[in-house]
């Protein structure tokens, strides 16, 4: 907290201090309070001094210009009846014409504590005749209840004396509300260390405008000094301990007059803005005020001018009660970009030029203004800008405290150096804050800018631009400068169709590959079959003998139908001989009838079948050598015989390995 800062009174801030000197005395290094107890002194155009001093000077002046003359004295009480915890105001007015005005002598008032509440005077010069009037005001605080009589108040001059009539005052038990004509204003707190419970001559209060706030939301702490007696010294104010707060003084110090329970008080108020920094229960410690005030004891109307002037009085130190504030955490979830700003803000932006040259700097100014803790505003971050190099220059804070609220602006300046020519854009910058009045996060954006950047003379970056060597630059060909790494541009084919799944996931591909596997497997199986079953050629011939013979017989029949007798006979002979060679495991080229007959006999073929074979063999030989003499029916008969013989031999010749 900046307690060392001097708070100037309002009239000095307004430039009135030289014309109308302030009644404030510069005693305390901390704060200044007016010594005058009532505002009527502050309206005086005279230079302001301590009351007793001022009164003495007035009387001296009167003594210079006004010789002794007639005077009158009167006294009055503001009320006839007061409660025990109230005070009465006694006014003694001495008026005279052209003569010095003496001071009244109060009778002993043992049942009251008496404070001097000041003096007012009036001086006039009419038709060469001077007249003066001085009113002495005293505050009477009763020490007990009862009916009291104030004896006549005497005024003694050199050769004259005067006195007032007796005054009576009833002091009753109870509070102000019980007394007819009592005030209904809030009771003043009892000052520390004082015996009387209410309406003290001086007291202090400490209040806050809010008891529950969010983190960062300002709380206005008000410290007030109520006094209605003359102060002999400048009060010394000690600000409270405010751990957990960021404190900001709120000048100017405010002075005004108010009444508390019918008693006029001069109030001096000091305000401080407190910004809680952490959630939880925060405590504002007691504030303290040390003051020396005039205590006239039982003889407040002493004529000892010098005793009053040199500050006889009582030193008092007053304390306020500590205060507690409930600090709420900011709501969750916090939006992206929120960095802790609390208040109500606006964001504006500006660029110092809209035309530039590559390499020449621009200045982007972003201003966050509004109400809140300006000093603690987070820095604004300019997003990465294509074709610009950015340098954060500075941030300036301007704080105003109008109407006792902290407001102002924070200005962020960023230097942008274009690295390429063209119509370059500076996008909007977002700023997110929490508005405690709405209880919600707010987002504001600065406006975007477009800057026309011309190429630097000579191309590339300008000579005045700072050297820029991004990674990888400089090693290339002379004259090529890599300005900034950016992604490659999009692809823009006229149309797109779904690319589909990868090939290995597609069904047709998997099926095709599976077919290849199957084919290879089948080939292997076939090869195995051949290896196992088709490798014995003799057996193969044996098994296929009949089919081959019948095939040849069929071809022979075709030849017969074409009347190709010789060819048909040859086919029939081939069919018979091929069949017999295959069945008997013999070489067909060297096979003879004799061998055939011998083998048939060896295989146990019936003799009549053997005879059929011999006849058919010889018949077909004959048909081949004399085809012209063969009739068609003979060929058909030979064909039928061949089929018959094959069928018979198929039964008679078993396989022998």
């Amino acid at each position: 907290m900046k307690t060392g800062k001097r708070i100037e009174p309002e009239n000095r801030r307004n430039g009135e201090s030289e014309k109308h000197p302030s009644p404030v005395l510069s005693v305390s290094p901390l704060l200044r309070f007016p010594v005058s107890p009532f505002p009527r002194f502050s309206v005086s155009p005279l230079p302001r001094f301590p009351v007793s001093c001022f009164s003495a000077l007035t009387l001296l002046l009167l003594g210079i210009f006004v010789q002794a003359a007639d005077f009158q004295v009167s006294a009055a009480l503001d009320r006839q009846q007061i409660a025990l915890n109230e005070q009465a105001q006694l006014s003694v007015t001495i008026s005279g014409s052209g003569s010095a005005v003496p001071k009244p002598q109060l009778p002993p008032l043992t049942d009251f504590q008496v404070y001097s509440a000041g003096t007012s005077q009036n001086f006039s010069w009419i038709n060469g005749q001077a007249s003066a009037s001085v009113t002495y005001t005293y505050v009477l605080t009763p020490l007990k209840e009862g009916h009291f009589t104030i004896a006549p108040i005497r005024v003694q001059s050199q050769n004259q004396s005067a006195q007032t009539p007796e005054l009576s005052l009833d002091v009753v038990k109870g509070d102000a509300a019980a007394v007819p004509g009592g005030s209904a204003e809030p009771a003043a707190p009892a000052p520390s260390g004082e015996r009387r419970p209410a309406e003290p001559a001086i007291f202090i209060t400490a209040t806050v405008d809010k008891k529950t706030v969010y983190v960062g939301e300002p709380v206005t702490f008000s410290f007030r000094l109520y006094n209605r007696v003359a102060l002999l010294s400048q009060p010394s104010y000690q600000a409270p301990q405010t751990a957990g707060f960021w404190a900001e003084d709120l000048p100017p110090q405010r002075s005004f007059t108010t009444t508390v329970r019918g008693i006029p008080y001069h109030v001096t108020e000091v305000r401080t803005a407190l910004f809680p920094t952490t959630p939880g229960k925060a405590r504002i410690g007691p504030a303290a005020l040390s003051v020396r005030l005039e205590n006239l004891g039982t003889d407040p109307f002493s004529n000892d001018f010098f005793a009053q002037f040199f500050g006889r009085g009582e030193e008092k130190t007053l304390h306020t009660e500590p205060l507690s504030i409930r600090v709420q955490a900011l709501p969750e979830p916090k939006p992206a970009g929120f960095k802790g700003a609390v208040g109500r803000y606006a964001l504006s932006a500006g660029v110092d030029k809209d035309h530039a040259v590559v390499g020449q700097p621009l200045t982007l100014t972003l201003t966050v203004s509004g109400r809140g803790n300006i000093k603690s505003l987070p820095d604004l971050e300019v997003p990465p800008l294509s074709n610009f190099r950015t340098f954060d220059a500075n941030a300036a804070t301007n704080i105003e405290k109008k109407d006792y609220q902290v407001e102002g602006s924070k200005v962020f300046k960023t230097v942008l150096i274009p690295t390429a020519s063209g119509e370059l854009s500076i996008p909007s910058v977002p700023f997110v804050y929490f508005d405690p009045e709405k209880g919600a996060y707010q987002s504001v954006h600065s406006r975007a800018f477009s800057v026309h950047v011309a190429a630097a003379p000579g191309g590339g970056s300008s000579a005045s631009a700072p050297a820029y060597a991004p990674p990888g630059a400089g090693a290339g060909a002379p004259g090529i400068h890599i300005l900034e790494e950016d992604i490659r541009y999009i692809r823009t084919p006229p149309s797109l169709s779904p690319q589909g799944a990868p090939l290995y996931r597609r069904l047709w591909f998997q099926a095709w590959m599976a077919c290849l596997f199957l084919l290879l497997a089948l080939g292997g199986l076939l090869r195995l079959y051949q290896k196992l079953f088709l490798s014995n050629t003799r057996l193969t011939r044996f098994r296929g003998a009949r089919a081959n013979a019948l095939l040849s017989a069929q071809q022979a029949q075709g030849a017969m139908e074409r009347l190709q007798t010789r060819e048909a006979a040859g086919l029939l002979a081939d069919a018979l001989q091929g069949y017999l060679a295959a069945k008997l495991g013999a070489d067909r080229q060297t096979l003879s009838l004799k061998e055939v007959l011998a083998e048939l006999k060896a295989h146990g073929v019936h003799s009549h079948d053997t005879e059929k074979v011999r006849n058919l063999w010889e018949t077909l030989d004959l048909f081949q050598f004399a085809p012209a003499q063969v009739r068609p029916d003979e060929l058909r008969q030979a064909l039928r015989t061949l089929e018959h013989v094959v069928d018979e031999l198929e039964k008679d010749i078993p396989w022998k390995n």
Binding site: I487, S495, P502, Y504, L520, G524
Partner: protein, 257 residues
């Protein structure tokens, strides 16, 4: 009244017939239309709008590496590094040989602190060779080698002769090489990966905010999505294999590939 009902029935019938005959007039914008609109928005510098249009095209099933590449560009321009990297990765899985795509993917992932391309030049060369063929090309190459070997074996079977030894050995080695290469590529392609799309993903020891956050993963980093025996709605179990870490994150902070 009866006439009115008949008229209403007839109108409904004609509406159905119209929709059946002219489906193009009643359906919304196609993915291809959205892609073209996205290109136009990107050209104007309206990157947010471009990203939205590209994303809608992808949501409509237009799965093409160029669409994902352009979508990654749009996300990059809007500052969403995580989403940009995820889009580039999708494009890369479909088409790994495009130089611009590799450049953008590496630039973006390097900015995110998790570069895809190795820093060492030899490792980078190996990486480029490994991805020199697209997955489809590699599949076709493997199939061709397999076909050649099949042909030799079939010839040998058919003619019942032993195949040429050198040719058979070369084809067998080639098949082994390409099959192994393809197998690793398919394995990597099928890895359940994700990219952190939130600014910072807090990885917790359990699928709830009540569990403490064990570590954080910044935006744009790759994570392995682990198999969940008992999936928890809204949460994913992820791992960082090279760090030996794993934990749970809200699924909104991960862009699954």
């Amino acid at each position: 009244m009866e006439k009115l009902k008949n008229f209403a029935r007839a109108r409904t019938l004609w509406l159905f017939v119209f929709c059946f005959l002219f489906p193009g007039l009643v359906r919304g914008e196609s993915g291809d239309d959205l892609f073209r609109q996205g290109n136009a928005a990107y050209a104007k510098g309206q990157f947010d709008a471009a990203a939205s249009l590209y994303q809608r095209a992808a949501d409509q099933g237009l799965a093409h590496w160029i669409l994902y590449y352009d979508l990654g560009n749009a996300y990059y321009k809007t500052g969403s590094l995580g989403k940009a990297i995820a889009s580039y990765e999708r494009a890369f899985r479909l088409h790994s040989t495009d130089r611009d795509l590799i450049y953008n993917l590496n630039l973006t992932s390097t900015k995110a602190g998790d570069p895809v391309l190795p820093q060492a030049s030899l490792a980078a060369l190996c990486w480029r060779l490994f991805y020199a063929f697209s997955l489809n090309t590699l599949t076709v190459l493997s199939a061709l080698v397999w076909l050649a070997l099949f042909g030799v074996l079939a010839w040998a079977l058919w003619f019942l002769r032993p195949p040429p030894a050198e040719l058979s050995a070369a084809l067998a080695l080639g098949l082994l090489f390409f099959s192994g290469w393809l197998g690793v590529r398919i394995y990597l392609n099928e890895q359940p990966e994700g990219v952190v799309s939130a600014a910072l993903a807090e990885v917790r020891s359990g699928p709830s905010l009540s569990y403490p956050a064990n570590f954080t993963i910044p935006e744009g980093h790759h994570v392995l999505i682990l198999d969940e025996e008992e999936p928890v709605t809204g949460w994913l179990e992820v791992g960082v294999p090279d760090q030996g870490l794993k934990g749970w994150v809200p699924d909104s902070s991960i862009d699954k590939l």
